[in-house]
């Protein structure tokens, strides 16, 4: 059992949980994720380790509520326990001193981006971070990002905070202004797709972290498969980070909808139960 020792809402739908998981805290590196099963009847879902504290033996997860499992997690309180947490999974991010790095995070993708930005900064890179969300309330981890970025550009779709526009606008502003040696983009699949198209135009080596549907997270099932450079890869063991210019985003977007109907029904049922 993995006890929750801190909880904080970043916005109505985004929650930060700090939980006890000493072994994972010790072994994890930037880019790693865990698989969580909330309770006996729960499904297994992947969540990036946003941060960890070896001394306290804790890891931090940042969760956006999109369906039953994320909602269950957001409903847990300090002192509650999560039944299963396994990790760290996936390959750690390849960190080196590239020179100037453009990091772009969309929505809750900012959470997985945070440890990578931190590691890139610590490796000596000049890091420019673009944070993007639909609206002001959904911009998360801004202070933390500022701490490890040379510059932070905030973009909101509705212009309620920072500059008005999509993440790609913020990215292009930087690329046109100065030489970018490497880019890291994490966010909703559609945002990564367009981010990748943007950096491709300028031939900037780019990585994305893919958030496919998973079951085991250990390479056993193939639920997480995507085509990268025409070859099928398992995101949980071969990734989650891949060369953005090789990923078949359309296939991935399609596969993310595999259980759309079941998920929506389950979520509606869950919300109805919560209300009752």
């Amino acid at each position: 059992m993995y006890k929750i020792i801190e909880k904080e809402f970043f916005s109505e739908k985004v929650v930060k949980l700090v939980l006890e998981a000493a072994d994972i805290a010790k072994s994890r590196k930037a880019g790693h994720f865990v698989i969580v099963r909330v309770d006996e009847k729960g499904e297994r879902i992947p969540l990036t380790i946003a941060d960890s504290d070896i001394e306290r033996g804790t890891i931090t997860l940042v969760i956006q509520v999109v369906g039953v499992t994320s909602a269950k997690l957001a409903n847990l309180n300090v002192g509650d326990e999560i039944l299963d947490v396994v990790g760290p999974l996936g390959k750690a991010t390849h960190i080196e001193n590239f020179g100037t790095v453009l990091a772009a995070g969309g929505g809750v993708g900012v959470a997985p981006l945070y440890p990578i930005v931190k590691a890139l900064k610590e490796a000596g890179n000049r890091v420019i971070t673009v944070l993007a969300a639909r609206t002001k309330d959904l911009i998360i981890l801004e202070d933390e990002m500022r701490k490890y970025s040379d510059e932070v550009i905030v973009m909101t779709d509705d212009g309620s905070y920072g500059k008005k526009g999509l993440v790609t606008m913020g990215m292009e502003e930087v690329i046109e202004r100065e030489k970018v040696d490497f880019s890291m983009i994490i966010g909703p699949a559609i945002m990564m797709k367009f981010g990748a198209l943007t950096t491709k135009k300028y031939n900037i080596p780019t990585e994305v972290s893919l958030n496919t549907i998973m079951v085991d997270g250990t390479g056993m099932c193939g639920a997480c498969r995507v085509s990268v450079g025409g070859k099928t890869q398992f995101v949980c063991v071969d990734g989650p980070e891949f060369d953005a210019h090789q990923v078949d985003f359309d296939e991935m977007l399609m596969r993310l909808n595999a259980y759309k109907k079941e998920e929506t029904e389950a979520y509606e049922k869950y919300l109805a139960l919560q209300q009752a």
């Binding site: 072994d23 994972i24 010790k26 072994s27 099963r37 009847k41 729960g42 499904e43 297994r44 039953v68 499992t69 039944l83 299963d84 947490v85 396994v86 990790g87 760290p88 999974l89 079951v215 085991d216 250990t218 390479g219 056993m220 099932c221 193939g222 639920a223 498969r225 995507v226 085509s227 099928t232 063991v237 296939e251 399609m254 596969r255 909808n257 595999a258 259980y259 079941e262 998920e263 389950a266």
Partner: protein, 494 residues
């Protein structure tokens, strides 16, 4: 089968000699092989209860009489772990059912499991005197094994094996499939401080996430795990060795030897166009969703695809389990697509028979070459090619050859790809010095199961590729002995 003297000694015990005289061999051979009690085929294809119901005491007593207690028991040579087969069957004949279970457990850690899932028709029963010499149906060794093991479990007198006093030496077992469980049982008996590390949230490996309830009820595996707990084995779920902690981390925590039984968990796909469409799963994903995550039960959160027509590609046990699961989840047509003919199917004969009885369609000598999806990316059709059989290949089975111009389309709602598994690469990739083959299996010394890294031993599917429960279990026991020798040697030196 090295040591027959032990067997001979048992066979010449007075009671055995007397028992042989109670009935003439001729009379024994005239008896008919009993049939397993089974759930009705139509009924069972709509529930997940076990198909085979077991033998009654009377049936077991009768079947045990058929065994001739041969002087040269060829059945034993057919058993991968050399179970003293006449030894346990004769105990059944004299109604000493607990004694029979005890004989089984001398060599087999999991008789209730093996009695259900071993391919007996290729092993012990295939080398039974009846099969070889009399050309008659063999003694139902598998059914009797299951009977004795079930009798013991249900008797409430399940003996917890004696364990030596804890010697404080820590040994880590990686993976809780049959290989790991068997290794842990022997090592705890020798007195080691044994911890089993399992990546998933459940103990049991394929026995839990792969083989369905209707063939191997979880309860049976759980009883074995509970016994291991009582013997002092510790279990850590959600712990991936090589990820949650490295071998070096565990060495630093005092673990002095390791047994790797991490299985062959990596599903293979065929790499044909459209295979990543929605609704196409590996059998591992399909079975894991249903068995481990209970996706078919509305009270559980994990979803799974249902549909009227479900095609399963392959002819092994995994394919049979998937297709019969699909039937039980309500598929109107559950179809096996297999590129060879039914004779070449690697699945247990009983599973193929059960599948046929349950109304599973078999499209043998067919192979998919492409999947076609609808506008949402969901598979709707598959392009199949007809095959014919050519010359035998390396496996001794006749090679399937595509027939030109034979392609046609078939409508499907979901497809389960069950064309084999590869060794789990997690461990090999986390250890540079570990010698592996080009297939990714771990290279070991055949006698001790020791790998190229001295304190690491391995067995089961991670060494053999996809094999069987009994071989995995046998490897686990062999490795336990190897580890014991290795550690005793080490202790002596220090």
């Amino acid at each position: 089968m090295e040591d027959l003297s032990y067997y001979k000694e048992k066979r010449s015990e007075d009671w055995r000699v007397e028992l042989r005289k109670t009935k003439k061999a001729k009379e024994r051979t005239l008896m008919e092989r009993i049939s397993m009690l089974e759930q009705d085929a139509v009924e069972r294809s709509q529930n997940i209860e076990e198909v085979n119901l077991g033998l009654t005491e009377e049936m077991a007593l009768v079947e045990a009489q058929r065994c001739l207690d041969c002087a040269n028991p060829t059945c034993i040579t057919g058993c991968p772990v050399g179970i003293n087969i006449p030894g346990f069957i004769k105990k059944i004949e004299v109604k000493d059912f607990l004694g029979a279970a005890e004989v089984l457990k001398d060599t087999n850690t999991l008789p209730a499991v093996c009695g259900r899932v071993c391919p007996q028709e290729k092993q012990c029963e295939n080398s039974c005197f009846y099969t070889v010499q009399l050309k008659k149906p063999p003694v139902a060794i598998g059914y009797l094994e299951r009977f004795a093991a079930d009798y013991e479990r249900n008797s409430g007198k399940m003996a917890i094996p004696k364990v030596a006093t804890n010697n404080g030496i820590k040994v880590a077992i990686i993976g809780s499939g049959p290989a790991g469980l068997a290794a842990s049982a022997d090592l705890v008996k020798f007195g080691y401080d044994v911890t089993v590390f399992e990546a998933l949230h459940e103990i049991g490996g394929v026995l839990k996430y792969g083989i369905p309830e209707f063939r191997l009820p979880n309860e049976i595996v759980d009883v074995e795990i509970e016994n291991l707990r009582k013997m002092g084995v510790k279990f850590r779920t959600n712990f991936i060795v090589g990820k949650t902690a490295s071998f070096d981390d565990l060495r630093a925590q005092g673990y002095q030897a390791f047994f790797v039984g991490s299985g062959a968990g990596l599903p293979r796909f065929m790499n044909i166009p459209g295979e990543n469409s929605i609704g196409i799963f590996s059998s591992n994903e399909y079975l894991t969703r249903v068995n481990l995550m209970k996706a078919a039960d509305n009270n559980y959160d994990t979803p799974v695809s249902f549909g009227d027509t479900i095609a399963v590609i392959g002819g092994g046990n995994t394919a049979m389990d998937s297709v019969r699961t699909a039937k039980r989840l309500g598929a109107k047509r559950a179809v096996i697509i297999y590129r060879r003919s039914i004779e070449e199917m690697p699945a247990r004969v009983e599973e193929v028979k059960h599948a046929q009885e349950e109304g599973i369609e078999f499209m043998n000598l067919h192979n998919p070459v492409e999947y076609i999806a609808d506008q949402d990316g969901h598979v709707k059709q598959m392009r199949l090619q007809k095959m014919k059989l050519g010359e035998p290949d390396a496996s001794g089975r006749r090679r399937p050859i595509p027939i030109d111009g034979s392609e046609f389309l078939m409508d499907v709602d979901a497809v389960v790809v069950s064309v084999g598994v590869s060794p789990n690469p997690l461990i090999p990739s986390s250890l540079k010095d570990l010698e592996t083959t080009k297939w990714g299996t771990i290279v070991v010394n055949q006698d001790t199961m020791q790998s190229s890294v001295k304190d690491i031993f391995a067995g089961g599917d991670i060494v053999r590729g996809g094999a069987t429960v009994i071989l995995a279990m046998g490897d686990g026991r062999k490795a336990a002995a190897g580890i014991h020798d290795y550690l005793m040697e080490k202790v002596k030196k220090n």
